[in-house]
């Protein structure tokens, strides 16, 4: 693997684009059109830089860039492999879409302090890409914490009591777990491995710990990366829904939570190593935790009336799919887990976009108020349906592909009954999402009905959600790239 490491500044450039963007944004803060134009331009530039890395990575090369060496033997290093690039691609392409959406949403909802919003949005993206490109555990942790800090002002954007409570919860959960669990676990790894922290194919901790220590480390990492929303450390996610919808859409359906599961995946593959976990038979512990989370979160989602909260609990469950896939420790399931990062991202962001579009167009937040809304905004709700299908894993959407792999992974790992979690949860997904669509089109409620005037949301909100919905379908037919990248793990 080390033979084809190529030094390249591309990963750094990709991160810097959005890290330096705030300077421009602050300078242009008074002219909204220019400011948002700059945001879009930066988004395209970033995507271009990420795509530029694609050929090299597909050839099996690793792009590396050393930033500094703050701890002896453990530099801050960026290293791009398939998995990281896959995540980066998803995040940076969705950033452009979300920026367009955010412009429509923020203007439509007349939010204040929009410059601050875009500034921290850009910072968050930098941190996300940093996590994706991290070459070792230390770098991963650094960017992970930066992401928590950068998203805090976004969560508390409204600056009212609600936002304050949500923000407090957000930081309490994320900081307490990362400082309380991840940091000591990471330093334990550092001490145990003799100062070596680069992600390695077999896991750099392989053979250096006994089974008890491995179990403790595994649990500390799994719970410690609380962004992954594993129960009982999921509470921040519904709380963070007080943020403006673009934030919920990109960060709390894609960037932040996916960073959490991405970190857990990295720990499974790069730190502890699949082989060692298999040897000690530790996957099963995490499987149960993840399975529990999937079922319970789906059940909670059933009872939520606030659309964004329902989607948030759905996200909690979907994240645990990925964790479950990783814990099966079979190559197929692992591939499925990584692919699910991408597939779920497109599906869930569509759903959030729809929720936000409904809010902008009609001011409605609660599902009970949305009965019959299909008459008012049919195309939006069709996109919502596509998103629902993708999340449930129905053809012809990308969600099916990844779920399929996850399902196949279960027997491969020798525990076919893990499929039950997935199957049960699919039914539950349908149970809490499909009624929304059904009642939107086939019932009439207090606010909307067959006689409602047709009116889609403003174009800047409308086109992004169509785009992501279409992308969900496209991914069903062309998942090759995703799987190719998913198989190129360090």
């Amino acid at each position: 693997m080390t033979a084809n490491v190529v030094s390249s500044a591309l990963p750094l450039q990709a991160i810097l684009v959005s890290a330096l963007l705030p300077l421009v944004l602050v300078a242009l803060g008074r002219v909204p059109n220019w400011r948002e134009g700059a945001s879009l331009l930066a988004g395209c530039l970033k995507l271009w830089l990420v795509v530029k890395m694609l050929p090299a990575v597909r050839d099996g090369q690793l792009l590396e860039y050393v930033l500094a060496e703050p701890v002896a033997g453990v530099p801050l290093v960026l290293r791009v492999d398939g998995m990281g690039l896959l995540f980066a691609l998803v995040a940076s392409s969705l950033w452009i879409v979300t920026t367009v959406y955010a412009i429509g949403y923020m203007r439509g909802a007349k939010e204040k302090s929009q410059t601050r919003f875009f500034v921290f949005f850009a910072f968050s993206l930098s941190a996300t890409l940093g996590v994706a490109f991290s070459g070792n555990l230390l770098t991963l942790y650094v960017f992970y914490e930066l992401l928590s800090m950068a998203t805090y002002p976004l969560v508390t954007h409204h600056q009212d009591a609600n936002a304050r409570a949500g923000g407090r919860k957000y930081l309490t959960y994320l900081l307490a777990t990362s400082v309380g669990f991840v940091l000591p676990a990471m330093i334990f790894c550092y001490v145990r491995s003799g100062g070596q922290m680069d992600f390695a194919a077999a896991g750099f901790m392989a053979g250096k710990v006994n089974s008890t220590e491995a179990l403790v480390l595994l649990l500390m990492f799994t719970f410690g990366f609380a962004k992954a929303g594993v129960m009982p450390f999921h509470g921040w996610l519904p709380g963070a829904m007080v943020a403006p919808t673009p934030v919920s859409a990109l960060l709390h359906a894609v960037a932040v939570v996916k960073v959490g599961v991405f970190c857990v995946l990295r720990v499974f593959t790069g730190v502890l190593g699949v082989d060692m976990l298999k040897e000690f038979d530790l996957g099963i512990v995490v499987s149960f935790i993840a399975g529990f989370t999937i079922i319970v979160s789906s059940l909670i989602a059933l009872s939520q009336d606030n659309l964004k909260r329902r989607l948030a609990f759905s996200t909690v469950g979907q994240l645990s799919y990925i964790i479950l896939g990783a814990s099966m420790l079979s190559p197929l399931a692992l591939k499925g887990a990584m692919a699910h990062i991408a597939m779920h991202a497109f599906g869930k962001i569509t759903l959030f976009f729809c929720a936000g579009a409904i809010y902008v167009a009609t001011g409605k937040k609660y599902i009970s108020h949305m009965t019959g809304i299909g008459y008012r905004m049919p195309i939006t709700m069709i996109c919502f349906l596509i998103g629902t299908m993708s999340v449930m894993g129905l053809p012809p959407t990308g969600g099916l592909i990844s779920k399929w792999h996850l399902l196949l992974g279960a027997p491969e790992s020798g525990r076919w009954w893990l499929m039950l979690f997935l199957a049960g949860s699919t039914l539950l997904n349908g149970a809490y999402l499909l009624p929304i669509v059904y009642s939107a089109f086939f019932k009439s409620g207090n606010y909307f009905g067959p006689d409602s005037e047709r009116g889609e949301p403003p174009p800047a909100c409308f086109w992004p959600l169509c785009l992501t919905a279409v992308a969900s379908i496209v991914l069903f037919f062309a998942p090759n790239l995703i799987f190719q990248l998913a198989s190129l793990v360090v």
Partner: protein, 510 residues
């Protein structure tokens, strides 16, 4: 001798002459005191940097300077190695920043006494720098007293409870310094020397480590230094003294005085005495580490309970002392490295925090935490610097607070002392709660009305609330942001700094 060779002495002589001249100038023209002080501190920082470079370039990481030209055990020697070069440079830098910062607060708080203030201010710097530089045990005592005396005066110049808390400080400070002096006497009676390296040599050659005199001497030096650094059971004097002192005093004393005492402790533990002697005494080191853990927990808790911003910060200083003492007593190289690095990191962090707290006080005339309400709108830059320093205190990468904690925690794991690791993490979390509560106040709180801008106090008639931004003057913002950005820079360059420190640590025989 070239100018560069004089650098170790110049670090100290600039503020020394600066102090004397400041008084003379100040007797005739008070407005010139501040420029003179800043110039002296800047020159001192430059000399400190030159010394650091010399130490880094010398083959054995050592630069010495013979005072009065006499050969060391006979005369006094300045001895700068990889351990104290960084500490001295940190002290010089922090002094410079605080000196720049002090322009408006000193005029405000000690009107008419600026020349006294600045003279004592520079003398305090001289004392602390001297403690860091000297290689002579008794000379260190003299410097200790210089720094203590000037800090007594600087603290007693404050308002409110300042005099009362200063008296307690004088009592404790005198006991501390006298215990140190006693300890040096015990070493002197057995070895006949006052030079630190020479004492160490004689103790090794004559194998004096078994004698009870040496044990008691070590113990008394340790207790004396602990009193000076406000280590856990001996910390009671510190919070009041730092809270009621004038802004510039606490901003100067809090970052450098406790840190330099920790340096002295490390110097005695590892250079004068032998780690084998220090840790070869059964459970002693374990007891100290547990005391350090209690210091962290208790300090953080008290900080959480206080309602005055400066009082909170003062208790955090106590907690941070626990970090460093614990690191130094974990008896492994990683812990020592972490402790030394944390001296520098914490000095800068404390400076940044106290500076921004000072700027807030300057504008709001209140240390109450509720005075922070809405400050993000009023003073966005000040609060930005405060937030950055707060992140470093919590230990969020890539600020230097994270990297020093990294070393301390890994030392705890290496030594198998999980109590220390737990205490550190616990204290970090308490810090997180504490600072995010403060930032919440600043971010969400409505500005307390009537909001009175500085300088307009008392004018009830024709009172007009100041709206919009009300930022601190540039002379405050520049040092504040330098300190805060320094935290990030120190974080990024921590690799180089650690490599530098490890030249000292590598020579320590565990």
């Amino acid at each position: 001798m070239t100018l560069a060779q004089q650098a170790p002495a110049l670090i100290l002589l600039f503020p020394f002459f600066g102090a004397l001249l400041t008084l003379l100038i100040g007797l005739y023209r008070r407005s010139w005191c501040w420029p003179a002080t800043v110039a002296a501190c800047a020159a001192s920082a430059l000399a400190a940097w030159s010394t650091v470079v010399q130490v880094a370039e010398s083959s054995n990481a050592l630069v010495t300077y013979r005072m009065a030209g006499w050969v060391p055990p006979v005369g006094i020697e300045f001895r700068v190695d990889a351990l104290n070069a960084g500490v001295v440079f940190m002290i010089a830098m922090v002094s410079l920043l605080v000196a720049i910062f002090s322009r408006t607060v000193v005029i405000n708080e000690t009107a008419g006494k600026e020349h006294f203030f600045y003279t004592l201010f520079q003398m305090l710097i001289v004392g602390v720098l001297g403690i860091g530089l000297t290689g002579d045990a008794f000379n260190l005592y003299v410097f200790l007293e210089i720094s203590s005396l000037s800090s007594y005066a600087l603290i007693a110049m404050g308002r409110g409870r300042a005099a009362f808390s200063c008296f307690n400080y004088i009592m404790m400070g005198t006991i501390g310094a006298s215990f140190y002096l006693l300890g040096v006497g015990y070493l002197y009676i057995k070895t006949g020397s006052l030079n630190m390296v020479d004492i160490s040599r004689i103790m090794h050659e004559q194998d004096l480590f078994q004698t009870s005199t040496i044990h008691i001497g070590f113990l008394f030096i340790l207790i004396g230094v602990w009193i000076k650094m406000a280590f856990f059971p001996l910390h009671r004097w510190l919070p009041n003294a730092y809270t009621f002192a004038p802004t510039a005093t606490s901003a100067l004393a809090a970052p450098i005085m406790t840190k330099v005492s920790i340096y002295v402790m490390i110097r005695y533990m590892y250079t004068v005495f032998d780690p084998n002697f220090v840790f070869g005494m059964g459970p002693r080191s374990d007891v100290v580490v547990w005391l350090a853990v209690i210091a962290m927990v208790v300090g953080s808790f008290y900080a959480l309970a206080k309602r005055k911003l400066k009082m909170m910060l003062a208790y955090l200083v106590i907690a941070e002392v626990g970090y460093m003492v614990g690191g130094a007593w974990l008896a492994n190289k990683t812990g020592l490295t972490g402790a030394i690095f944390h001296i520098m990191a914490d000095g800068l962090m404390t400076a940044a925090l106290f500076l921004s707290a000072g700027a807030i006080y300057y504008k709001r005339k209140s240390y109450n935490v509720t005075a922070l309400k809405g400050m993000f709108q009023k003073m966005p830059f000040t609060m930005g610097a405060f937030a950055l320093a707060a992140l470093s205190m919590i230990g969020i990468p890539p600020t230097c607070g994270f990297f020093s904690k990294w070393y301390l925690i890994s030392a705890g794991i290496e030594a198998g002392h999980y109590g220390f690791v737990g205490g550190l993490l616990f204290s970090s979390l308490v810090n997180a709660i504490l600072f995010f509560r403060l930032l919440e106040y600043a971010y969400y709180g409505e500005v307390e009305t009537p909001y009175v801008a500085a300088g307009k106090r008392g004018k009830k008639k024709g009172f007009r609330e100041k709206s919009g931004r009300d930022e601190a003057p540039l002379s405050m913002l520049v040092p504040m942001w330098s300190a805060s950005l320094g935290l990030v820079l120190l974080g990024f360059y921590s690799g180089e700094v650690i490599a530098f420190i490890s030249r000292y640590v590598a020579e320590v025989q565990f």
